[in-house]
Subunit: 752 residues, 2 copies
């Protein structure tokens, strides 16, 4: 009897131990290199979630938006990077580079081999110096491990004059360096400009080496000063080097911490890495990333799709970055996130994904936007290096506020947020209207649309309308009826650019640029396929595509397009006909599915629009086609600029089987690729998506139960899943009538 009990206890303990030790390491599915090549510009180095410091390689080629490029030499390893931006460079500050032999401040780059990365680890071999490099990171500190050949001249170069500068250039402002001892160096690099045309920012650093250097020196403007310990700031590029003897011990380790406050703070931040074990730092990164990744457990899909999926989720949480305690502009107890780069990209899917998995993080980000409004004039449409800029289309920070609001995200001062939104809608930003707020606002508020007197007149009008609905949404929720009514009315402003006379491919009515006197731009001067950059009426898209953009009022848009059947035909045409415009104009959407530029954000919602006419099987078909053909686990596996995880978020949502209409309490169902996905919400409740039979062929939903009851809408609300829920889909290889008789998703025009 006693023996039996003991055996049971043993078995019990053993099972528990097994459970404990078998915690899945989801980071094994993450490859930070996915999307680094082929225009994805993902960041392949090491970083924590929202990590202020992002340590990785900088390469001397033009395509170096995240520092890395497939070609060219490695310049060194800097500590600040942006993920996925296709715009001009930012960051690339505080660059370290191991070299061997003579110290050459102007010539130290190296070819490379054996380059790969994992969560919390970047690895490369520098062939010029026969030196291996491994990097890992905490929130604001990095550890570098260099394995040199045996030499008495193993150098570590610290170049404070280096920064990313391919185009839309950053400009050098100044730098200082000071060797404090034979194991310590500190200083700063000060840079301005770049993508957001930002004011000067200063990255301070403190570096601590594991063992003493045998000699050292500094440089200024390329001129070496042997044994000189410091260089002051005369607006010139400075640097320092420490030389080590690696004949006995080939390894040189250095910890580097950064700060936006000062060198003492950087020295404080280095405490994030107490030991000299790179493995410990990496393990910590794996633990931190697993805290997020384990919130979504997917089963019954290919290993490759899991790799793409978890790498996508990884990139969603890589940025914006947490700068708490690192704000050199004002003192505040509020959260401080930066590197919104840009919200035009991320409001659509990235932030809704964050609000789904980690609403407390979403709250901190919105609180941060509000604090930026309080102390720095406007909520940003984009912000990096502590300065707002630059706007792409609307004031889409409004969408972030509304998205958090409708999803019940707690801990946000929505009253102040509403003031900030109203400022966007009423106070022209002036001067550089690409910086913040709403350019062309005078027109918009006076004549109901942004006229051709202003750049991006089409994009701005459409997005301001959607943004106004976001304002109305929050105002309504706060009981501000007058504000609600006012902005609900303004949310129809896009209709002022609806030109019913324009006809193309048999469809009538397109969004069209309009002059301030009310007349339309002549069709000889503009066509439905024309697009361009910031100066163009349609920013990074074209009328055919952006004529589908009225996310706040799809029912009205469908009506304007001629009703359900015409709308479906028009979407079909959009997804199947080849783009007939000039390819030379296609700067931003070289990857097309039909005319849909799936490589850029303006297309993001369009595959889901069939849900607004209860034809979800068509959404399933096009979404599955894009997922299967445009995303891979290769280094060029992202179809467009990842844009701070935007491409990743599009993939992640659709892989789970739904996609948000951002700023509204609506998820539109598409087609789950995994047979089971279990999302553990922040409140501990589980949101389970079962997709029986789901595979590459069984892409169509045949039936659906929600919490065991038949569910026939092809959309659902956040409230439906916020406290846990189970969707049970049965998938098949033929379109079904499921969803065709459900309630339509809400649109402004069909709501009270």
């Amino acid at each position: 009897m006693k023996k039996t009990i003991l055996i049971f206890i043993f078995i019990f303990l053993f099972l528990n131990l097994r459970t404990y030790t078998q915690i899945t390491d989801y980071t094994k599915y993450v490859d930070p290199f996915i999307g680094a090549d082929g225009g994805g510009y993902t960041f392949p180095g090491a970083a924590l979630p929202s990590g202020m410091l992002k340590v990785g390689p900088d390469c001397n080629k033009l395509d170096e938006n995240a520092g890395w490029d497939a070609k060219g030499n490695i310049v060194g390893f800097s500590h600040t990077h942006i993920n996925g931006s296709g715009g001009g460079c930012k960051f690339g500050n505080i660059l370290f580079m191991p070299t061997v032999g003579e110290v050459k401040p102007l010539d130290y780059t190296s070819p490379r081999a054996n380059e790969y990365s994992e969560v919390g680890l970047y690895n490369v071999y520098l062939t010029r110096y026969k030196t291996s490099v491994r990097l890992s990171a905490t929130r604001s500190a990095a550890i570098h491990e260099y394995t040199f050949p045996e030499t008495d001249k193993a150098n570590v170069m610290i170049d404070l004059g280096s920064f990313l500068s391919s185009y839309e250039r950053q400009e050098f402002v100044g730098s200082e360096v000071r060797i404090l001892s034979d194991t310590e160096v500190e200083g700063y690099s000060r840079i301005r400009g770049g993508w957001n045309i930002g004011r000067a920012y200063t990255v301070y650093f403190y570096a601590k080496f594991e063992r003493p250097a045998t000699s050292y020196g500094t440089w200024k403007s390329g001129q070496l000063y042997l044994n000189e310990k410091s260089q002051f700031d005369s607006n010139e590029k400075t640097g320092a080097y420490l030389t080590f003897d690696t004949r006995q011990n080939k390894t040189v380790k250095v910890k580097v911490a950064i700060s936006y406050m000062g060198v003492n703070k950087a020295q404080y931040n280095i405490k994030e890495i107490p030991s000299w074990s790179l493995e410990t730092v990496k393990s910590n990164a794996v633990i931190e990333w697993n805290k997020i990744l384990k919130q979504v457990k997917v089963e019954g899909g290919s290993e490759d799709s899991k790799k793409i999926f978890y790498s996508s989720v990884y990139r969603i949480f890589l940025q914006p970055n947490n700068y708490k305690g690192e704000n050199p502009l004002w003192a505040s107890d509020k959260p401080y996130y930066s590197d919104y780069h840009a919200i035009w990209d991320t409001y659509r899917a990235t932030h809704p994904f964050i609000n789904l998995l980690q609403p407390s993080l979403g709250a901190d980000m919105v609180e941060s936007l509000i604090d930026i409004y309080r102390f720095d004039n406007y909520m940003p449409d984009a912000r990096t290096s502590h300065d707002n800029g630059r706007t792409q289309g609307g004031s889409n920070c409004d969408m972030l506020v509304a998205d958090a609001f409708v999803k019940g995200v707690k801990g946000v001062d929505y009253k102040t947020a509403l003031q900030a939104m109203i400022k966007n809608a009423t106070v022209p930003p002036g001067d550089d209207e690409r910086k913040q707020g709403r350019g062309g606002l005078w027109d918009y508020n006076r004549i109901g649309y942004v006229s051709t007197d202003f750049e991006r007149c089409g994009t701005r009008t459409l997005e301001y309308s959607a943004n106004d609905y976001a304002i109305a949404t929050v105002a309504k929720g706060l009981g501000e009826t007058a504000i609600y009514e006012k902005y609900k009315k303004k949310a129809s402003s896009w209709e002022n650019l609806w030109n019913p006379e324009i006809e193309n491919m048999g469809f009538k009515g397109f969004i069209w640029p309009r002059k301030s006197d009310g007349t339309w731009v002549d069709t000889t001067k503009f066509n439905v396929f024309a697009s361009g950059s910031l100066e163009h009426p349609f920013y990074e898209t074209f009328s055919w595509e952006y004529s589908f953009y009225a996310p706040q009022d799809m029912s009205r848009l469908i009506e304007k397009m001629g009703g359900k059947e015409t709308f479906i035909n028009r979407l079909d045409t959009y997804f199947t006909k080849s783009f007939p415009g000039k390819l030379g104009e296609l700067l931003f959407y070289t990857k097309l599915v039909g005319m849909c530029q799936i490589s850029n954000e303006p297309s993001f919602l369009n595959p889901s629009l069939y849900c607004y006419v209860n034809e979800p099987y068509k959404t399933a078909k096009i979404v599955r086609q894009i997922l299967a053909t445009q995303y891979t686990s290769g280094r060029d596996g992202v179809p467009g600029n990842d844009d701070s995880g935007s491409m990743g978020a599009w993939y992640a949502f659709h892989a789970l089987g739904f996609y948000p209409n951002a700023g509204q309490d609506v998820y539109l169902i598409s087609s789950p690729i995994f047979q089971k996905s279990t999302i553990t919400l922040e409140n501990g409740k589980q949101f389970v998506i079962i997709a029986k039979n789901a595979d590459e062929k069984n892409i169509y939903i045949q039936s659906c139960l929600l919490n065991g009851k038949p569910f026939n809408n092809c959309w659902f609300r956040h409230a439906d899943i916020a406290n846990g829920a189970t969707f049970e889909f049965v998938m098949g290889d033929k379109p079904s009538t499921w969803g065709s008789n459900g309630e339509l998703p809400p649109s402004m025009s069909n709501q009270k």
Copy 2:
């Protein structure tokens, strides 16, 4: 014979030596304390001309715009100050304070005695600590000399949490401190806000003590950390103290250098003071100041008037400050001057005085404005702590460009300056329209005046008109005919606010606030004596006074007022009738001569306006009355806020006998107070003003010769004196007809 020759040689040498040794020290006439009290807010500490560092006392009373106040305790001695501003505080950074006994970071202020200053020296005795303090300064470094009682606890407190904050508050952002050794401390203080609502700025410092401290410590948020050498930046107030033993040697000296770049640069800047002799630093300051002061030699006036005169010239050159090599925002080879505080005050007299004495300095300042436009969006109307803001009325930087241009100031890129001026006139600043550019520009360019929809509508309209004439002036000179024509036309915009129906004291026609629909503000809601601050139609003035403001077109204004006689009567009334408005409204002009608020800049040109109707004796009379009754050599000797030397410049010009119409090639003659003034121009030529018989009674010009020839105009051009000239006035105690038949000064309407 030989003996005679030798004697002659001796006499010759002796005379030469006498000449050499008798070089006048004009700084003996300068008392930096003139105007420090009574609302003048002059800076009484030590500084070089345009010195970036201005070391002086900060007092814990509300009236501490320049740090100093007559009442309250001395808090300590900080290194950055503004001269003469009546607006909210700026600066007061990096505060040092000697104390004795226990170290108390939150309680160390002291009453004072024996406080005085000279050029390059500030002196005070701290009664709480029985300690004497002497301060002197170079461009970016200071030397402090503390004479303690005999004690083993003589402390020097370094408070990086201290800054001036009476109203329109500066806000604390952060600070760091680090004790490098027993003789060295460095760190920074970071502040935002204040008068210009500026972004955060950082003042770095490096301090070197003459002898080692016996103990030390730091603090954060008031909490002491004995023996702890550093405090990092956590947005909290930090500080450090060093304790000395003064039982053998009562003197503790410390050099303190500041920088806006970094601590290494501050350490570099300390080389400006090579020795430990405060006397040497002071002597150097005297030499530097004499280089300017000796350019004007005045003779035949009272000692008191010389004291007022040279102290005035001193203050003209005290600010804006030279930040060359200290720009943390961009790298540029151009000059970098800042602390334009504000150009609304200084364009009228201060900068014209600089252009007269030191056109190369004037050129550097305009070049600096252009560089600010290039890299920081707009030329400033005011700028301090590396940020523009805040505008008072027009975009009066335009006046600085025009003033330099018409006076032939070389070395300015006038083509780019014209672009910058046109930006002011065409690109609305947006958001905070008090920051830069032209607020209400939309109205001004659309309907020809700034309507009551915008604040300061009256002041803005009038000044934009004058600014537009400045643009026209430069455009004309550069051969840009179309621009010239356009802006000449716009320079008449002030007429759109001329309301011919308003009548007061028998005079018809006043400048009046107007609504955007073209109707006038009702007389029941507005009157000719109403004034206020930034929100008011008339900024710091009232319609009666500012109806005289059309400096670009006095002939047209005189015509609108009803012709010469009415104009004279109206000016007479203005200078003689008591102000009948409510005194409570007179926030900014408590010192009045009749209705003329001589204590503020909007009145500055008005005493000279009689010259526009050839009645110069009336100008002489009122100017002499103001000089004699409103300016003294006392600490309250300036009638209003000195505003970066504005009051000083008004005095200095009129003491010499003329006054500029800024931005135009016109000096209007008033009444010289010295019997001879010799101005040595920068090109070495002499501009001599002889005023025979001039004294307190002989104030009227009876006759005039220019270079020996009769001169009957009551005005002259810069070209008349730019290569040297001699005016010979004969003065008498009765008005004469001199000047009554001369050519009228140029006005826009009577020019081709």
